[in-house]
């Protein structure tokens, strides 16, 4: 099982490319500007076909805490580490 990380906002092709290839049992972790994908938008439904996490410090830094979809789980850096441990491989999209 793969953990995908996305660090670009949904305007960048990274999110769409990831969603095109990610298997159902893969998780997606939104980091840096990737956290904007946690807001309501055209790609949210496709994104939520996967287990989705977002890096809390990046969500907070951008003032998105009140706006993100409730199906998205927030993690801190130690949660990021735990996800890397839990999944076999990390695929970074940037």
């Amino acid at each position: 099982m793969i953990l995908h990380t996305i660090n670009k906002s949904p305007q960048n092709p990274a999110l769409k490319t990831c969603l095109r290839v990610a298997a159902k049992d893969s998780a997606i972790l939104l980091i840096e500007d990737g956290v904007y994908a946690a807001l309501p938008g055209p790609d949210l439904e496709a994104l939520l076909q996967h287990k989705v996490y977002a890096l809390a410090p990046d969500i907070k830094a951008r003032g998105l805490l009140e706006k993100l979809s409730p199906q998205i789980t927030l993690v801190d850096y130690s949660g990021f580490v735990a996800l890397v441990e839990q999944y076999d491989t990390v695929q970074s999209w940037y």
């Binding site: 980091i31 890096l55 850096y77 130690s78 890397v84 441990e85 990390v90 970074s92 940037y94």
Partner: protein, 130 residues
């Protein structure tokens, strides 16, 4: 677990150095080992000890040097990427007859083979792209 981190972004133009640094700190705090930090492409700027940000901002190269020293981490900077961006250690500065060198403490210049080795020898290789 043994983790290696590949960092492709430069301070000032990318958040990748920050994310990688806090990930490395959290990994060490959780009892994991860092097998190698590999700085590639614009990420080589993380290793310039001449970076002089304002005093109320983070000095990212100095912060890496402290972490590398404190945990005895192998920190490799891609030599080809570094030389073309003006990040040189003493022996490269001498070889190319430059009047200065700027590779920060704890970093080493080496080849891309070290990234392949990190991928083979580590349980996880995490890329922090820019």
């Amino acid at each position: 677990m043994k983790f290696s981190l590949a960092i492709y972004g430069a301070p000032c133009s990318s958040q990748a150095p920050d994310t990688a640094y806090y990930f490395a700190k959290a990994a060490l705090a959780s009892g994991h080992d860092i097998y190698r930090l590999f700085f590639y492409m614009d990420g080589v700027q993380n290793a310039s000890r001449l970076a002089t940000p304002p005093q109320d901002e983070q000095n990212i190269p100095a912060r890496w040097s402290e972490l590398i020293k404190a945990h005895n981490i192998d920190a490799v900077v891609c030599i080809a990427a570094a030389l073309r961006r003006g990040v040189l250690d003493k022996s490269e500065a001498d070889r190319y007859e430059k009047d200065a060198n700027n590779l920060a403490d704890g970093f080493n210049l080496s080849g891309l083979g070290q990234l392949i080795d990190a991928g083979i020898e580590s349980d996880r290789l995490i890329t922090f792209g820019c």
